[in-house]
């Protein structure tokens, strides 16, 4: 009887592990395929019976892709917009998240509801008003907002602040308030205590939140497709241009995709502990 149980446990364990292997293949195959394709020649990519294994090491894709479109501009635009957005959203979000974590102020429930509410707004509902608002500001105030870095940064910062607040709040909750009290007894103002004590302690959480803000800004296409044409075209819009009606340069497109993906994955693997904690802290805490 005992033997039989052990056998069944082993069988179950084997089953669980094989299911996990299948899931891993499902999860990783597209990323593998992207990298493989980036090293393929045009004729390899367009074959009707493609090979699952790497067939060639055609690194020419990585050299040619820069000439096809102003890819370098797309990257620069995306980096300027996303990095500035990240810095601003983290600063503004940290302040609000800290207040949210430490103080019981009237209207806190309403504020919390508003944060959650922003997650339900269909982008298309505010896209046109925003467009009109941008045009109105340009004609009446004289500040151009369409097709500018600062216009996109302003929009993206606002979009990402609610999520940043939610995530950062979870990190601030884990920092004991006694540390700030001690700093204030030593003569720090509230704001100094926040900057000098709380922010450094929450640094891993802030970094993790920053990564999510960066990813969100980097991936945005809806508003970018309407509000950012020509001069500030970000990578997320520019990369789709490799697919043309006449001929799609899959190899070069995948090469550009690989270049955009690998640094992010590397960053994630480096910072994964705070990122995973940050993801779950807001909702698993009981």
């Amino acid at each position: 009887m005992k033997m039989k149980d052990e056998h069944r446990d082993m069988l179950f364990d084997l089953l669980a592990k094989s299911v996990l292997v299948c899931i891993l293949i499902f999860a990783l195959f597209p990323i593998y395929w992207m990298v493989i394709t980036s090293f393929r020649t045009w004729s390899d990519v367009t074959q009707t019976d493609p090979s699952l294994l790497p067939t060639s090491f055609y690194y020419q894709n990585y050299l040619d892709m820069w000439d096809r479109f102003p890819l370098i501009d797309y990257f620069v635009n995306s980096l300027v917009i996303s990095l500035t957005t990240t810095a601003l959203a983290l600063f503004i979000g940290s302040l609000a998240a800290y207040a949210f974590s430490r103080y019981d102020f009237p209207g806190k429930q309403l504020f919390g509801g508003a944060i959650l509410g922003t997650q339900m707004i269909p982008g298309v509902l505010i896209l046109l008003p925003m467009y009109l608002l941008f045009v109105w500001v340009q004609t009446n105030v004289g500040i151009p907002l369409r097709n500018t870095y600062h216009g996109m940064i302003f929009v993206y910062t606002t979009f990402t602040v609610p999520f940043a607040i939610w995530m950062l709040r979870g990190f601030f909750d884990t920092i004991p308030a006694a540390l700030e009290d001690a700093a204030r007894i030593d003569g720090c103002t509230r704001f100094q205590a926040l900057i000098r004590i709380v922010f450094p302690l929450a640094a891993p959480g802030i970094a993790a939140t920053g990564m999510f803000v960066f990813i969100a800004a980097f991936n945005e296409v809806l508003f970018a497709s309407i509000l950012a044409s020509s001069d500030v075209t970000p990578f997320a819009i520019g990369i789709t241009r490799f697919e043309a009606r006449s001929q799609t340069f899959w190899g070069q497109m995948m090469a550009a995709s690989t270049v955009a993906t690998i640094p992010l994955l590397a960053l994630f693997i480096l910072f994964q502990r705070p990122i995973v904690e940050g993801l779950t802290s807001g909702s698993v805490k009981q």
């Binding site: 592990k17 299911v19 996990l20 899931i23 891993l24 499902f26 999860a27 597209p30 990323i31 992207m34 394709t37 009707t48 302040l95 609000a96 207040a99 103080y103 102020f105 429930q109 919390g112 509801g113 959650l116 509410g117 922003t118 997650q119 339900m120 707004i121 269909p122 982008g123 298309v124 509902l125 505010i126 046109l128 008003p129 925003m130 009109l132 608002l133 910062t157 606002t158 602040v161 607040i165 204030r184 720090c188 103002t189 509230r190 991936n219 296409v221 309407i226 990369i239 789709t240 995948m254 955009a260 992010l264 994955l265 994964q272 995973v276 993801l279 779950t280 909702s283 698993v284 009981q286």
Partner: protein, 337 residues
């Protein structure tokens, strides 16, 4: 922020001694004044966030509501303030299946429903299975957990284009594999016609399930071991433990995971937009994509706004009902508390 720091300095001068003396009437009064001073400080901290959300979220929403009652088309786009108010006519046109836009609206609504239910259901089940296996904690499970998350970290547009390439009917790897395995005889048109919504949904499952996994995994970790031991003593087997300990204990996390995935799916634009190359006809055209294409191609902004408002209201009502029923029960206050 300079205003804030000068104020907090004076606040500190008053605030320091009272943190020790909290007894008696004078202490109580000081506590009261300290609270309001704290409140003022808290308001200053949230002010920048509130101000930005007001301009970019609140004003455009009200504006969008207003536009939904106007006949704002190509004629009036440059001078939208003069567009005529037409009451509810945009809404009646959209909701009437007899009109062309109404017919397409209802079709897109069904596509959205398939997309949402399919993505959330698929991602939740797959995420739960993955989390349960990872929770068994074997050698290499940490590495597996990291690898599982990679799809969620990769830039969405990039992975969507990769999926698009894989789903191509003639040169795509998916049709090739299915044909080699003998599952299908003829290549399937994944990105054209009625299969499109399946492709879009499956791809979205792929994007969401890593997140569901990590959330549910954290939920599993927080289940006290004693519960399983107690269940063992009561003679519960593997299934019994899952049914009577794991599932009920996971309810709070599941509530958050499902709610957020439902909302994200309903208003998802990027996935259907990029995967279908901006829309490949009616199939796979979920509401967000339909509204975008219809409003911005035909310059029917009033109609577009009416459709968006309808979508927003559905999302909000859904979230509120759900929030009351499920999340309040589990968290006693949720995000606000």
């Amino acid at each position: 922020m300079s205003e804030g720091s000068s104020d907090t300095t004076s606040g500190h001068a008053v605030g320091d001694p009272e943190s020790r003396d909290t007894h008696g009437v004078s202490g109580w009064i000081r506590q009261r004044t300290r609270l309001t001073e704290e409140n003022r400080y808290a308001y200053k901290l949230i002010l920048p966030a509130i101000a930005m959300m007001f301009i970019i979220h609140f004003v455009p929403i009200v504006w969008g509501f207003a536009i939904s009652f106007m006949e704002l088309d190509a004629l009036y786009i440059a001078r939208w303030t003069e567009a005529p108010f037409t009451g509810l006519s945009n809404y009646t046109r959209v909701l009437d299946p007899a009109t062309i836009v109404g017919q397409r609206y209802w079709f897109s609504l069904r596509q959205t429903l398939i997309f949402t239910v399919g993505s959330v259901g698929g991602a939740y089940v797959l995420g739960l299975i993955t989390a349960l296996i990872l929770n068994r904690g074997f050698r290499g499970s940490k590495v597996a957990r990291t690898l599982i998350l990679l799809p969620w970290i990769s830039p969405i547009v990039v992975v969507l284009l990769t999926w698009r390439m894989m789903l191509l009917s003639d040169t795509g790897i998916i049709n090739h594999l299915l044909q080699t395995a003998g599952i299908i005889d003829e290549p399937i048109l994944w990105l054209l016609g009625s299969k499109t919504i399946i492709s879009v949904t499956l791809t979205n499952v792929w994007i969401y399930f890593p997140w569901a996994t990590i959330m549910l995994f954290a939920g599993l970790k927080s289940i006290p071991n004693q519960l399983y031991e107690a269940a063992s003593i009561d003679g519960a087997g593997r299934w019994g433990k899952f049914r009577y300990v794991t599932l009920p204990q996971l309810k709070p996390v599941s509530a958050v995971v499902v709610l957020l995935m439902v909302l994200w799916s309903m208003i998802n634009f990027t996935v259907p937009f990029v995967l279908t190359g901006g829309g490949s006809g009616r199939h796979g055209e979920v509401l967000m994509l339909f509204i975008y294409n219809y409003a911005f191609q035909n310059y029917e902004f009033g109609l577009g706004a009416a459709m968006s408002v309808a979508l927003f209201l559905v999302a909000m009502v859904l979230a509120m009902v759900y929030y009351r029923k499920v999340i309040d029960d589990s968290f006693g206050g949720g995000i606000g508390g």
